[in-house]
Amino acid sequence: MLNYDIVVIGGGPAGLAAAIEAKKNGINNILIIERDKELGGILQQCIHNGFGLHVFKEELTGPGYAEKFINELKSLNIEYKLDTMVLDITEDKMISAINTEDGFMEIKAEAVVLAMGCRERPRGALSIPGTRPAGVFTAGTAQRFINMEGYMVGKKVVILGSGDIGLIMARRLTLEGAEVKAVAELMSYSGGLTRNIVQCLDDFDIPLLLSHTVVDIKGKDRVEGVVIAKVDENKKPIPGTEKLYECDTLLLSVGLIPENELSSGAGIELDSTTNGPKVNESMETNIEGIFACGNVVHVHDLVDYVTEESIRAGRNAAKFIKKELKKDSHTINTKAKDGIRYIIPHEIRVENLDNTLDMFMRVTDVYRDAKLVIKADGEIVREIKKKHLAPGEMERIKIPVKDIKNNNISNITVEVQGKVK
């Protein structure tokens, strides 16, 4: 049996940042377990730029962002195992994992940081009707094929879903010589950043079909076409609006789901909105000493916020090992109110906060000229004006600890006040 102070599951941006921070906070005996053949996680296939504006104040590519952390990890001599799969984690932090070199391993950890990331929603989850030919890919699978392995997935492409991955892939495929016929989006607004709509679609005259969805897939062996229809306000296809797009490929960019099968197995409580673990101010789950950060907790749109959150998880895992994390503290619960879908963290042990309380959240609709209103036990503590709020863009709020520490607040709520666009 192997023994470590901290075992980090996942060597993507979340795991890397958590491990580095834990090491910087005095913990030496750390192991990262990564299932892929290299560190960096999904960043390695996100070759576009736009990463790191918050953390490094410069625009990096995904691999560039990852490399900064990988280099730091190596200079800190943090141990990691590649091509290694965790099969199981128990409540008392016994990890079983396998790889080809070490075989079957049992690893005892004092603390665990879960950083497994997320996976893409496949076609099946949407029940898209039609045949089941080759040529239907999730956007991330296609991205890996094209960017890392150097294979093209099609020549004439329709993309369903206008989140950032869908938009970025529309540009990538176009640059590599494919024809992107359209991007269809079920919602009446795009889930992606406006700048990506301009740079990835408008630049190449790719139509964005809002309030549209794929209602049929045609083709026996390979996709031969997809039928796109307009949807009404209940997102139901409107009969008579169907149009056939001839194509050999359908890319799906229809959402990401945190990968929490290991967490569930360990008995960690999940939030049914985020599909990730419920966490406290220290990014600790309901099981003492098991922390979680990054997309395994909730799906982020900016890696910079993953890093920020994971640094917090790493630092607190170190504190836990050093027995500095306070268990008996006054505890505040957070609650998402009107216009807010969820708030991370779920629970705040006031004694463990340093200077500010950091909260991440997502709104339910697109708003213009709105404000985020933060209340403590019903009393407004803060209002933050927002020109623009959208479900696709995560909001971060920092509240000075002095505003909440002194009185016996039992809950903090956040709501949106303003007009839905």
Binding site: I47, T61, G64, I146, M148, R195, V198
Partner: protein, 123 residues
């Protein structure tokens, strides 16, 4: 007097800009709808010389992948992106490569280099 409608892509807000030719203004253009000075700068550039940062891949041998990601060191003229792709697609490099290594120097005489955006060791 010519007028252009553009969406600013400098930050996530996405201001809708109206850029009008205006000989009285310093830059020859008047920008409206922007919420910050960066929007004005972007608006003028977008109608005079629109540029885009290009990210793509290059063939590599001797590494653990067959492709290595690259990025242009600065914005490239928008209308030259496909021409740049043709040049980049013909390049073959050999590992090891360090992040920041110049892969194509001064592509199409634009003064912009194509550089590796990650390192790849020799296998």
């Amino acid at each position: 007097m010519k007028e252009y409608e553009k969406v600013c892509i400098v930050c996530p807000v996405g201001c809708r800009l109206t850029i009008t030719e205006d000989s009285n203004s310093n830059n020859g253009y008047r920008v409206e709808g922007n919420n910050c000075p960066r929007g004005e700068k972007y608006g003028i550039k977008e109608v005079t010389n629109p540029t885009r940062v290009l990210t793509t891949t290059v063939k590599i041998s001797g590494a653990h992948h067959d492709r290595i990601p690259v990025i242009s060191s600065d914005g490239l003229p928008k209308k030259k992106l496909f021409e740049c792709m043709e040049i980049i697609n013909d390049v073959n490099i050999v590992a090891p490569i360090k992040a920041g290594d110049v892969i194509v120097e001064d592509i199409l005489d634009t003064g912009v280099d194509i550089v590796a955006s990650r390192s790849m060791d020799k296998q």
